[in-house]
Symmetry: C7
Subunit: 95 residues, 7 copies
């Protein structure tokens, strides 16, 4: 089974707090309850979104910082995922 | 009798919770009361919507994840359906 | 006497609840007080509306599902009508 | 003395309730206090309004149904008039 | 000393209530406290305003009906003036 | 040290009330607490702002009337300045 | 490890209050709790943002005045950073 995001949407999986800490990035106290770092699992094709051409710059496997609590959560085969728009991605983390 | 959605609208039928669980996708507790997975029954022609060209990417028979509680519910011959805009579709589920 | 809607507006007449039920479509309880199915009586010419070209896709005589309680009601020769924008039409019902 | 509306604005004069009733159109109770049918007295030239080209479709002398309580009232030589935008006109009444 | 309005702005001087009455136009009671008729003193050059080309249609010396209480008041050499956008002008009064 | 405003922003210095009065312009009582007349100290390059081409019409040294209390205040070497957008300038005062 | 901002976003580091004061710029009391002067650490590529072409004018190492409390804070290797959009930068400080 595969989730194919539509338009500029991407499917991400938030990283556990321990993993985040290990990678050297710690999120401030105010966001302690929900990690803001995620791995990109699937990427939509982009194209015309709201009448504007959107080019996808994130790729499968990227580690990203996500801006907001927004997004729709789904559970697939027991794992939690979130679908967000690419514009909710603030930055890509390169190792 | 047939429902022909206008513009970028689509007619969907939400899947029963049991069917959703069987397919390996479970929705989080917060949305327990209303399943977010639906089957596409009819698709509008797209075209110019709000002055922007909208191309339809969902097709009849697609299984889709729907973003919001929005949409207009109607009952046809005893069955419940919902009319939403294509932009309310987050992703297509492929088996 | 004739009502000629301007731009993308259409003149509709809501169908009585009994007629709606007979046609096999029943609206959910939450909208019991006002039927959402209407017949199209007159259609505006479309053209440039809010700076965007609008093409009319509904026709005189169409049976339509209407999205909202919006619209302006008027009474002509004792009959109640409503003027809405075409974008308030969700779908056309074909027999 | 003459009032020359600017852009897509028009000068209208609301019809007395008696005149409205005589013409076969009765407005619902909720708008009893202010008639919604008016005669067009002067029409602006249209042109670029809010960056969009607006073509005037109402003409001097048209009887029109007006959508809202909006508009600016003025009294000229003892008579009450209202200035509205053309987009506040819902339909033209033809005899 | 001269005030040069920027873009689509104009400098106006509201007319005293007595002058307004003399000219045959009386404003309704609800606006009794502030006359809505003004003389145009200076006119901005128009040009690109908010990304849209605005052509100035009011001229120095025009008598205008102004739509709103908006605008910024200033006092120059003891006289009160107001700066508004051209779009706040509803109509030009011709004698 | 120099402040270089970005885009359509300008750095201004509000004039003391005494200077304003001397120049023949008095602001109404409602704005007594903060003078609305300012001198332009630095001007941004304009260019594409919010996707629209903005041409700068105010110049260093201009005396301007400013529309709002908005803007960001900063203190440089003990002097107070404000950064506003050019669109917050209503008019230029010429002597 | 490197943070690569997306689109028109930039990664900044706010300067300590002491550094700000030393440089001759003092922020007013109302913003005492959070300095508004920052150093630019990383700059996104710009490109199409919200359907508009954005050209980046700030560069790595620039000292900038930032307009708002907005932005997302992250901690990298024990240091606090903030991700903002370029439009939140009011001006560049040149020494």
């Amino acid at each position: 089974m595969k989730i194919r995001p539509i338009g500029d949407r991407i499917l991400i999986k938030f990283k556990e707090r321990e993993e985040v800490t290990k990678s050297g990035i710690v999120l401030p106290d105010t966001v302690k309850e929900k990690p803001q770092i995620a791995e990109v699992i699937e990427v939509g094709p982009g194209g015309i979104v709201d009448g504007e051409k959107v080019e996808m710059v994130v790729k499968k496997g990227d580690k990203v910082i996500v801006s907001k609590y927004a997004g729709t959560e789904i559970k697939i085969d027991g794992e939690e995922y979130t679908i967000i728009r690419q514009d909710d991605v603030l930055a890509i983390i390169e190792d």
